[in-house]
């Protein structure tokens, strides 16, 4: 796994935009409501059906789209020179 994300379950409003934009289909809705009454998004490391290991690239597209700044993205450091440059949200 090159990257991973952490979703703040209480900041999340379950809008589903991250799920829509993740190229690796790495995010799903969770089954439990959060305190605000939304079904928050959660990061899945394996596909539920095939149990195949999914590959989050740490591209941060989910976090860029997330309206509620609920997602933090982590990436393996050595990948930085290639992937980070392309997707780092703070880039020009």
């Amino acid at each position: 796994m090159k990257g991973k994300i952490e979703i703040d379950q209480e900041l999340c409003k379950g809008c589903g935009l991250c799920i829509q934009v993740c190229p690796k289909k790495q995010i799903e809705f969770s089954d439990a409501l959060n305190k605000k009454g939304y079904y928050p998004a959660s990061f899945k490391e394996r596909d539920r059906k095939t149990t195949e290991k999914l590959e989050c690239t740490g591209c941060a597209l989910c976090a860029i789209q997330c309206p509620d700044v609920a997602i933090e993205v982590y990436r393996e450091e050595k990948e930085q020179s290639t992937t980070a440059k392309k997707a780092a949200p703070t880039d020009e």
Binding site: G3, K4, E10, L11, K13, G14, C15, G16, L17, Q20, V21, Y38, G58, A60, L61, A63, I64, Q65, C66, P67, D68, V69, I71, E72, V73, Y74, R75, E76, E77, Q80, A84, A88, P89, T90, D91, E92
Partner: protein, 245 residues
């Protein structure tokens, strides 16, 4: 692993009151990121409007002064004129900037005020419950155009940004969107450039951002970002409207 995406410093931890999927919150984050990256947090004053973003002062961790509905350009002008060392930005909805505040905005642009306007175009009056906005597109159903906006009765959608482009004092005007990560990145670049125009003391800058309002459009967040790209963009095409290099 290294954290590569986190909340910007200029954005307080306060959870947003905005509806799920609302574009306002994305735009708040982008403005905060730009403020952080330009290192101007300690000399920025923001002027939020009356509109869904009226509580923006609770989110930005910079000095914030609320303006009456539509008057943000005038309030920002007053701040910037007496303290040119500050960075003044207004944050306004389409009703705020393109209906009740049209005069203030056009004249601020024409005077080349060194202020930056963040113009959130969601084609409705969000805060007051989804009434027709100046930017509501023809045929669009709102609570005050129940059969759809009929231009001969309700007027045509107003392209304020194009009008502002004509004003001699405007330096940089771009229309973007927050409907996808690609557009969000473009929007951030545009916001950064708009602030740079102010920092370089060149004149008025504005970024119009097509922004989903799933609640009043009566759509899911995913449907609403599609509507931005498939429908709104045909009436308000994203582009650089003016860039006086």
């Amino acid at each position: 692993m290294k954290k590569v995406f986190a909340r910007p410093e200029s954005l307080k931890l306060t959870p947003f009151h905005y509806c799920p999927g609302c574009g306002h919150s994305i735009i708040h984050r982008l403005v905060s990121e730009v403020i952080d990256e330009l290192g101007i947090r300690e000399r920025t004053v923001g002027v939020p409007p009356a509109g869904c973003a009226v509580l923006a002062y609770n989110y930005f961790d910079v000095d914030m002064a609320e303006a009456p509905h539509g008057r943000a350009a005038a309030v920002a002008t007053g701040i910037k004129r007496v303290r040119p060392d500050l960075v003044a930005f207004s944050y306004q909805g389409d009703g705020d900037i393109a209906a009740i505040g049209t005069a203030e905005t056009i004249h601020a642009a024409n005077r080349g005020e060194r202020i930056t306007a963040i113009f959130v175009n969601n084609a409705v009056y969000g805060m007051t419950g989804g009434q027709m906005a100046p930017t509501t597109i023809s045929g669009q159903v709102t609570t005050t155009t129940p059969l759809g906006r009929a231009p001969l009765r309700d007027g045509y959608p107003l392209d304020l940004s194009e009008m502002l482009g004509i004003a001699a004092g405007s330096v940089y005007i771009e229309r973007t969107s927050v409907s996808s990560p690609k557009w969000i990145n473009k929007t951030k670049k545009a916001i950064r450039k708009a602030f740079m125009v102010q920092l370089e003391d060149r004149g008025f800058s504005l970024v119009e951002i097509l922004s989903p309002c799933p609640t009043n459009w009566k759509m899911t967040p995913v449907q609403s970002i599609r509507w931005v790209e498939e429908t709104m963009m045909t009436i308000f095409p994203p582009k650089v409207i003016k860039d006086v290099a």
